[in-house]
């Protein structure tokens, strides 16, 4: 099974869908470059982080922990916890992906899964997810993340602080832009996302969890609210 587009058309659909991601990624990646540079991390290490790790939150926290002189174990474990949520996301994408996507393709496409590429991919309109669509989307997102990092590293001194702190909101604005239209047309989306917000707030603000990483809060809130929602959804859909 596949959708009605050619491989090339699917690739271009992916490229187009990635434009808003690039708009959100470039300022954040610039901010990452600026932060890493001002923290004294060598530029080639920061550039390599964006190229090999390719996970915004982990890179920011990684730089912070390096500056704080945290142990390597602490840094690696924090990164791991923070990125466990991608386990759920790729599990979801793995189910949507067309059968033609071989194991090799899957090794490649898995590298490109981020919060943003995942969200855009899961809301694409075609019933079958083309591997070329994913490839186009992931490539543009990855390129823009690396491009932004270099800009930040090379032009670190030219950026006013005001602009730097205002750019931090870009990713969140994108999450909002992805979620709100879904909430309007699909009631379970409203219920489940509200539930996740409540659980994450409880996790963050109640003094139950000590100083566990915020990555756990996101994972816990995601799993619990989707599990509760699925209890009702599964019933609806089998009727």
């Amino acid at each position: 099974m596949s959708n009605s587009f050619s491989n090339k058309e699917n690739f271009m659909r992916g490229v187009k869908a990635a434009v808003p991601i690039a708009v959100g990624y470039i300022p954040i990646a610039i901010a990452f470059g600026l932060l890493a540079k001002s923290a004294g991390v060598p530029s080639y290490v920061s550039a390599l982080m964006s190229f090999l790790i390719y996970a915004g939150a982990s890179q920011f926290i990684g730089v912070n922990l390096i500056v704080l002189g945290a142990s390597w174990w602490e840094i690696v474990i924090t990164t791991f916890i923070l990125n466990l949520r991608h386990f759920l996301m790729t599990a979801t994408i793995a189910q949507m992906l067309e059968e033609k996507a071989s194991t090799k393709w899957r090794f490649l496409l898995a590298f490109g899964i981020t919060d943003e590429t995942f969200s855009v991919t899961s809301f694409q309109n075609e019933k079958i997810l083309s591997r070329y669509y994913s490839f186009g989307l992931n490539t543009v997102a990855f390129a823009s993340w690396n491009f932004g990092t270099w800009i930040g590293l090379f032009f670190a001194d030219g950026f006013p602080d005001l602009l730097k702190s205002s750019m931090g909101i870009a990713l969140y604005a994108m999450f909002i832009g992805l979620l709100v239209p879904q909430i309007k047309k699909y009631r379970p989306a409203l219920v489940v996302s509200s539930l996740a917000v409540i659980i994450n707030c409880l996790y963050t603000w109640l003094p139950l969890t000590g100083n566990l990483s915020s990555g756990w809060g996101i994972i816990l809130a995601t799993v619990v609210s989707a599990a509760i929602g699925a209890k009702f959804c599964a019933l609806e859909e089998t009727e």
């Binding site: 060598p42 840094i75 690696v76 790729t90 189910q95 898995a110 969140y172 609210s225 699925a230 599964a234």
Partner: protein, 101 residues
């Protein structure tokens, strides 16, 4: 040189959770409940990612900028504006607050 090993270790623990389900869960038929669970994961994950993280997204001393920027983004998204403009509006809203307050 040592930092490079750290980057490689971080890259591995980032890639593994991305890769395992992608490779292992191909052509597996899942029960209806698990399917519904996975269908809801994007909404749940986005909710948890947005709040309360957005409050501190403009830095610890700029919560007002973050709230105004996020609210503007919500408004634009609710009106059905293009995603690029939602992002641009969020940045602009937060920049304006930072400029004038």
């Amino acid at each position: 040189m040592n930092l490079i090993y750290l980057v490689i270790a971080m890259a591995l623990v980032t890639y593994i959770p991305r890769m395992l389900p992608m490779v292992l869960l191909q052509n597996v038929k899942l029960p209806a409940y698990v399917k519904a669970f996975m269908k809801l994961i994007p909404y749940a994950a986005l909710g948890a990612l947005i709040f309360p993280g957005a409050l501190t997204s403009a830095g610890p001393d700029h919560m007002g900028a973050a709230i105004i920027g996020s609210s503007l983004a919500i408004l634009l998204a609710w009106l059905g504006t293009n995603l690029i403009l939602v992002v641009a509006g969020g940045i602009a809203g937060s920049l304006l607050v930072n400029l004038f307050f």
